[in-house]
C-alpha cells in the first residue's frame, strides 16, 4: 500500500472538509485496496451461509483508516466511497465477463456451474448499473441510496449519515428506487 493509514485518514478528513481533490486522490486508493483484498470473505461456498454481508467495506475501512482519528460520520463517508468503488469494480468486471463470448479460455480451468452463475450475475449487474445511471438523471439521491445500500451493503443509519438526510428519507428513497428499478428491470 502506497500510503499508510494516517495518510489515508488525512485524505478522508480533507474529503469531509469538502475537498474534491482529496476525493479524487482517495477514490483510486480505496479501489485498489478493495481489489487487493481479493474479497476473500465473499467466496461463494454453497454451504457457507455464515458469511455476513457487511464485512466487506468494513474490512477495507479497517485496513485503510485510522479509526482513532475520525468520527463516526467520517466513517460513513468513507464507507460511501468504498461503496462507490465496489460498484465500479463489480460493473467493470461484469462488463468484462459479458464480453467474454467463449466459455472461458479453453486453456484454463473453469468452474462450470459458477461460470453460468457468473454469467447470469454479470448480466444483472450491468443492467442494474445502466438503470441506475438513468435513475441518477431523475433523482440522484435515489441512485446513491441504492449504490450505498446495495453495492456497499451499508445500513440505513450509515447511509443517512453519509448522504446527510434523515433515516426516514433513506427508507422512502430506498422504496421508491427499488420500485422504479423493479419496473425497469423486471416489469413488463
Amino acid at each position: 500500500m502506497m500510503k499508510n493509514k494516517s495518510e489515508i485518514t488525512q485524505l478522508l478528513l480533507r474529503v469531509q472538509a469538502g475537498s474534491t481533490k482529496a476525493y479524487e486522490e482517495l477514490f483510486p486508493l480505496v479501489y485498489d485496496e478493495l481489489k487487493q483484498l481479493a474479497f476473500s470473505q465473499l467466496r461463494s461456498e454453497p454451504d457457507d451461509i455464515t458469511v455476513t454481508k457487511t464485512e466487506l467495506v468494513h474490512e477495507v475501512y479497517l485496513k485503510m483508516v485510522d479509526q482513532t482519528r475520525i468520527k463516526a460520520t467520517d466513517k460513513s463517508h468513507f464507507l460511501a466511497i468504498a461503496s462507490r468503488c465496489m460498484r465500479q469494480i463489480l460493473v467493470d468486471h461484469a462488463r468484462k465477463k459479458k464480453a467474454e463470448k467463449r466459455g472461458g479460455d479453453q486453456q484454463d480451468v473453469t468452474y462450470i456451474d459458477e461460470l453460468l452463475k457468473v454469467r447470469e450475475e454479470s448480466g444483472k449487474i450491468v443492467d442494474l448499473d445502466e438503470k441506475l445511471k438513468e435513475l441518477e438523471e431523475l433523482e440522484k439521491r435515489l441512485a446513491d441510496v441504492v449504490t450505498l445500500r446495495f453495492f456497499g451493503q451499508m445500513t440505513v443509519h450509515s447511509t443517512a449519515e453519509a448522504l446527510g438526510v434523515s433515516e426516514r428519507t433513506v427508507m422512502r428513497d430506498w422504496a421508491k428506487a427499488r420500485g422504479w428499478l423493479y419496473k425497469k428491470l423486471k416489469g413488463s
Binding site: F39, K53, L90, T110, Y111, E114, K176, G179
Partner: protein
C-alpha cells in the same frame, strides 16, 4: 423517458401515499390526481411495483448479491499476492520463480535448499483466498493420488506439506519441457512419431486407471514433453479415485469435480445430469487429444459459442471425421498442418483416413459404453493398426449406427422389423412416400416420428413371423425392395457396407417369412463378399445365414448344402473367432436334426456348447437358441434327462436376459412339453404346451405356425391320454393352419394327419384312418425316400388299423419295416421301436402266435429298462399288453398282476378319468 419535473411531482405524491394507511391511499390518489388519468396511472403503477419489490425483498436478499461474480473477480490474474512468495522458503525448498497460475493456486520453480545438486522441483501452492475447506481437501486428495502413481510418464510427487501461512503445497518433479502440441509442432513430428508419444500418454493413463484413478482433465496443457522427448502427464488436480477410501475427506462435500473442467475436452457425460465418470471418460478425452495431435484441429468449433451451445455440441453433435475436416480447410491452413507433420497435405489426409479415423471416432462416441472400454482396448487397436489387422473400431460401426437408431425408436419390439426400417432410412428411402401411403399428417414428417408410427402400424396390423404379413402389408415388402435398389446404387463402391446391408435386408425378409427374397439378398451378399475386407469370414457368415434360412424354410436336406460349405470354410480358417465357430456348429446340429442324423447332431451341439462355455459367451442369445436345438435333438435320441436339463438351462438363461417373452422361449416351452411327455410326466407336459400355445398366440397370432405346432403337441398328449375326440378336433385345426400357411410339399402337413388318423381308428372309423395313413406314407415316401423316419410312425399305425380289420400279414410286414427304420435311425434301444414292438406283439397275439408275442415283449422289456424312467406310461402299455397275452394264454392270475401294474401306471400318468385308465380298469377283476 420521463423528465425531471414530472418525476419530482410523482415522487412527492408517492412520498405522501407511502405515509398513509393502505386503505386511505386510493382516495388520496384520486384527490390529488383530479382528472389526470395519465398521472393516476403512473402513480398506481409505480406503487404496485414498490409493493412488489417490497414483498420480494428485491435487492435485499442474499441471493441478489453477485457473490459468484466477486469470487470470479478475485481469481483474476491481476489480483495476485503470490509475488510475495518469491524467495521464500517452503519446507526444504526455496522458491525461485513463478512458473504459472492455475485456477486454485500457483506453480513455482523451486530448489532444494540443502541439496548439493540444487535439484529443481515444481512447487504447487494453494493460493491464499482459495484455501476453502473443499479446495484444501481436493489438494490433499491430489497428493494422495499422486503418491500412489509411479510411472515414467506421470510427473512424480516428491513431497508435500503446509506453508507457514497454513497453505498446503505439493512438491513435484520439475518437468523441463514444453506442452505437447507445441513440442510436436516445433519438432515437426510425423504422424507416426506423434502416435508414439500418444501411446506413452495412454500408458500413463492406463497406469492411473490400474491404480483406480481417473484423471478427468486430460488436455494438451496438462501434458508436457521434456527435451529428451519424454512425455509427462501433469496435474491430477481433479482426478478422482475410483475406490472411495477417502474416509478422511468424507466430511467435506466435494464440489462434484466434474464441474471443474476444460470445456473443449469435456466428455458428454461430464456435462449431463447423470455425471457418471468412468475410465471411458478419460478415453474420450484421449480421443479429443488424439484428434488434435494428429489432425492439428479440434473436433468441435467452440469459438464464439455460448455456453449452452457448447454443452449441446459436446453432448449431442457428432464430430466430423478428422480426415474430412482436414479436407474442409483452406489450402494454406492444410499446408501449415502438413508442414508441422513433416509431410505434404495429401499425405496427412491419407494417413488419417479409414483406420485412424475409425479409432478416433470410436473414442469420441457419445455413449460411454460404445467407446473403448479401457485404454487397454485403445492400445490394442493401435497394435492392430500397425499390423494392418482389422480394428475393433471398424467392426462395429454399422452395428453402432443401427443400434443408435433402434435405441431412439424404443417402441420397436421386433428386431427384424426395426432393422427393416433402418434400412429404409439408412438407404435414404423417401420418407414422404411413406407418409403419403400411411396418410400421416405432413407435419409429422420428422423422421423419427414417421418411423415410430410406421413401426407401430406394422406391429399392430401384422405378425412379422406369420405369413399374414404377406397379405396385409404388401407395401412393407415393396418398400423394402425399392430400398434395396437404391442402396445398391448408393453403395456400389463400398463392398463392406453393401454386403452388410444386404445381409440385414435378408434378415428382415426372413423376419417377415419372405424366404425367397431373403435367399436372394443373401446370395447377392455372397457374390459381393469376395470384394470385402474379409472375404472368407464374410462368406462363412453368409453360408451360416443361408443354412439357417433353409432350415427354417424348407425344413429338409436342402439346408445341408450351405451348412457343409460353411463347415469347409471354417476348416480353412486358421484361428476362427469363437462366434463363427459356434454359429457353424449350431447350424450343423440343426441341419443334422432335419435329416435325422441325431447322433451327429448331438455331437455338433456338444461342440458348440463347450465353445460357448469356455469362451464366456454363455449369456448370449445364440447360446439360448442353440440349447433349444440341442434339447430337441436329445429328445429324439431319448436322452430325456439330459434334454430336460439343457432345456431348463435355456429357459433360465432366457428369463434372466429378457423380461419380455420371445418366440425362442415359446419354442423352449414346446420342447419341454415334449420332453415331459416322453418322460411320462403329462401334467408338466400339458402345462408347458398350454404355456407355449398361449405365448405363441400372443406373439404371433391365433393362426400362425408356432401356435399350430404347440396345438399339435397338445393333441398328441390328448391322444395318449385317450381323449380322442379332443385330439382329433385339435389336430384338425392344426392341419387347417398348416395347409393354409405351408407349401404342400412341406412335411409338417402330414403330422397332424397322423393324429387324426389315430383318433379315427380309436373311434372305430377304420377306413378313414386307413386312407389318411396311406396318404401320409405315400407323400413321405415320395419326398423323402423309402427309409425315412417319418414313415415308421404312420406305418405302425396303419398296421394297427390292419390288425383291427384282421389283415394280420399286412400288419406284420408294416410293423417289421417300421422297426427296422427305427433301429437304423435311432439306435438299438429307443422307445419308439419299443412301441412298435408292442403293436407287433399284439398282432402275433391276435394270431395266437404266442411265442413270437413273448419274444417281442421281452425285447420291449429290455428297451424300457434301458431308456425309460420308471413309471413311464409306455411301461403301462407294456404291462397291459402282457396282461392280455397272459390272459389269452390262460393264465388269469399272472394277467391280473400285469393289469394291476398297468392300471397303476396309467393312473399315475393320466389320472382316474382318462379313457386309457378306464380301459384297463375294465380288465381288472
Amino acid at each position: 423517458m420521463m423528465d425531471q419535473q414530472r418525476w419530482k411531482k410523482i415522487s412527492t405524491i408517492i412520498d405522501t401515499v407511502l405515509a398513509l394507511d393502505k386503505n386511505r391511499r386510493p382516495a388520496y390518489i384520486k384527490k390529488v390526481c383530479k382528472n389526470n388519468q395519465l398521472l393516476k396511472q403512473e402513480i398506481t403503477d409505480l406503487l404496485s411495483y414498490i409493493e412488489k419489490s417490497n414483498t420480494e425483498n428485491f435487492l435485499e436478499e442474499w441471493e441478489d448479491y453477485p457473490h459468484n461474480l466477486i469470487a470470479d473477480f478475485s481469481q483474476a490474474p491481476d489480483v495476485n499476492p503470490t509475488s510475495a512468495m518469491l524467495g521464500q522458503a517452503v519446507g526444504h525448498y526455496k522458491i525461485k520463480q513463478l512458473i504459472g497460475h492455475g485456477g486454485m493456486g500457483s506453480v513455482f520453480l523451486a530448489e532444494r535448499a540443502d541439496d548439493a545438486f540444487n535439484r529443481k522441483v515444481a512447487l504447487k501452492v494453494l493460493r491464499r483466498g482459495m484455501d476453502t475447506p473443499s479446495n484444501v481437501a481436493r489438494f490433499k486428495r491430489e497428493r494422495n493420488i499422486l503418491a500412489n502413481l509411479n510411472h515414467p510418464n506421470i510427473a512424480r510427487l516428491l513431497d508435500g506439506g503446509v506453508t507457514e501461512d497454513g497453505l498446503p503445497y505439493l512438491v513435484m518433479e520439475y518437468v523441463n519441457g514444453i506442452p505437447l502440441l507445441k513440442y510436436c509442432n516445433k519438432h515437426q513430428l510425423s504422424i507416426e512419431k506423434r502416435l508414439e508419444l500418444f501411446k506413452s500418454i495412454c500408458n500413463a493413463v492406463q497406469h492411473a486407471h490400474r491404480n483406480a484413478t481417473i484423471h478427468r482433465d486430460l488436455k494438451p496443457s496438462n501434458i508436457y514433453v521434456t527435451n529428451d522427448g519424454v512425455v509427462k502427464v501433469l496435474d491430477f488436480g481433479i482426478a478422482k479415485l475410483l475406490k472411495s477410501n477417502t474416509t478422511d475427506f468424507s466430511a467435506f462435500k466435494t464440489r462434484t469435480g466434474a464441474r471443474i473442467l476444460t470445456l473443449g475436452y469435456a466428455a458428454p457425460e461430464q456435462l449431463d445430469s447423470s455425471n457418471t465418470i468412468t475410465t471411458a471418460t478419460d478415453c474420450y478425452t484421449l480421443g479429443i487429444l488424439l484428434y488434435e495431435l494428429l489432425a492439428g484441429i479440434s473436433p468441435f468449433d467452440l469459438k464464439d459459442k455460448t455456453l449452452s451451445k457448447i454443452e449441446k455440441f459436446i453432448r449431442i453433435r457428432t464430430p466430423v471425421k478428422p480426415s474430412t475436416k482436414l479436407e474442409q480447410l483452406t489450402k494454406s491452413e492444410l499446408s501449415e498442418i502438413a508442414n508441422q507433420r513433416n509431410t505434404i497435405p495429401s499425405a496427412v489426409v491419407q494417413s488419417l483416413s479409414d483406420d485412424l479415423d475409425a479409432i478416433i471416432m470410436k473414442a469420441l462416441r457419445k455413449e460411454p459404453d460404445t467407446r473403448y472400454r479401457s485404454v487397454d482396448q485403445l492400445l490394442e487397436d493401435f497394435n492392430r493398426y500397425e499390423e494392418s489387422r482389422p480394428l475393433i473400431a471398424q467392426s462395429d460401426t454399422l452395428k453402432y449406427r443401427l443400434r443408435k437408431f433402434i435405441r431412439r425408436n424404443h417402441r420397436v419390439i421386433i428386431g427384424s422389423v426395426s432393422i427393416l426400417i433402418t434400412i429404409l432410412i439408412f438407404g435414404g428411402y423417401h420418407i414422404n412416400q411413406i407418409a403419403k401411403e400411411r396418410n400421416i399428417a405432413k407435419k409429422e414428417a420428422q423422421k423419427a416420428q414417421i418411423v415410430k408410427k410406421f413401426l407401430v402400424d406394422i406391429y399392430r396390423s401384422s405378425n412379422p413371423q406369420s405369413n399374414t404379413f404377406k397379405g396385409k402389408d404388401i407395401s412393407a415388402k415393396q418398400l423394402l425392395l425399392s430400398g434395396e435398389k437404391k442402396i445398391g446404387h448408393d453403395l456400389k463402391n463400398q463392398p463392406d457396407i453393401y454386403a452388410e446391408v444386404l445381409l440385414v435386408i435378408g434378415d428382415a425378409f426372413k423376419g417377415i417369412d419372405a424366404f425367397e427374397k431373403a435367399e436372394k439378398s443373401y446370395r447377392k451378399a455372397l457374390s459381393k463378399s469376395s470384394e470385402t475386407t474379409h472375404p472368407f469370414k464374410n462368406k462363412l457368415r453368409i453360408y451360416v445365414k443361408l443354412g439357417n434360412l433353409k432350415s427354417k424354410w424348407t425344413k429338409d436336406h436342402r439346408a445341408l448344402q450351405p451348412a457343409l460349405k460353411a463347415r469347409k470354410l471354417l476348416d480353412s480358417l486358421k484361428n476362427p473367432p469363437p462366434e463363427l465357430e459356434v454359429s457353424v456348429f449350431s447350424l450343423l446340429g440343426r441341419v443334422n436334426v432335419l435329416v435325422e442324423n441325431y447322433e451327429q447332431a448331438n455331437s455338433y451341439y456338444e461342440k458348440a456348447d463347450s465353445i460357448y462355455i469356455s469362451t464366456g459367451m454363455s449369456n448370449s442369445f445364440g447360446y439360448i437358441q442353440m440349447l433349444n436345438g440341442y434339447g430337441k435333438s436329445l429328445i429324439y435320441t431319448s436322452d430325456l434327462e439330459k434334454a430336460e436339463q439343457i432345456l431348463l438351462k435355456s429357459n433360465a438363461l432366457h428369463r434372466k436376459a429378457f423380461s419380455t417373452p420371445t418366440v425362442t422361449i415359446a419354442k423352449n416351452y414346446k420342447f419341454l412339453g415334449w420332453v415331459y411327455r416322453d418322460m411320462g410326466n403329462f401334467k408338466q407336459s400339458n402345462n408347458y404346451f398350454l404355456k407355449s400355445i398361449d405365448l405363441d398366440r400372443r406373439l404371433t397370432g391365433k393362426e400362425s405356425l408356432p401356435t399350430a405346432l404347440s396345438m399339435y403337441h397338445l393333441s398328441i398328449n390328448y391322444t395318449l391320454a385317450g381323449d380322442f375326440e379332443k385330439a382329433e378336433d385339435l389336430a384338425k385345426k392344426v392341419l387347417r393352419i398348416y395347409q393354409k400357411l405351408l407349401e404342400p410339399t412341406n412335411d409338417y402337413i402330414q403330422r397332424p394327419k397322423k393324429y387324426i388318423a389315430i383318433a379315427k381308428y380309436n373311434l372305430n372309423e377304420y377306413s378313414e384312418a386307413k386312407n389318411i395313413l396311406r396318404e401320409i406314407i405315400k407323400k413321405r415316401k415320395k419326398l423323402r425316400g423309402k427309409d425315412n423316419l417319418g414313415l415308421a410312425g404312420p406305418s405302425s399305425y396303419l398296421a394297427v388299423v390292419y390288425q383291427k380289420t384282421g389283415h394280420y400279414k399286412k400288419a406284420i410286414s408294416l410293423l417289421k419295416k417300421s422297426i427296422r427304420i427305427y433301429k437304423n435311425k435311432l439306435g438299438e434301444y429307443n422307445s419308439r421301436m419299443g412301441r412298435a414292438m408292442i403293436k407287433l406283439a399284439t398282432v402275433y397275439r391276435k394270431m395266437n402266435e404266442y411265442k413270437h408275442a413273448h419274444k417281442y415283449l421281452q425285447r420291449v422289456k429290455s428297451i424300457h429298462q434301458k431308456v425309460l424312467p420308471h413309471g413311464n406310461y409306455q411301461q403301462g402299455d407294456f404291462y397291459f399288453e402282457y396282461g392280455k397275452l397272459e390272459q389269452d394264454e390262460g393264465k388269469p392270475q399272472e394277467a391280473q398282476d400285469f393289469f394291476k401294474k398297468a392300471y397303476n401306471i396309467y393312473l399315475e400318468n393320466f389320472g382316474k378319468d382318462s379313457k386309457r385308465t378306464e380301459n384297463v380298469e375294465l380288465y381288472l377283476d
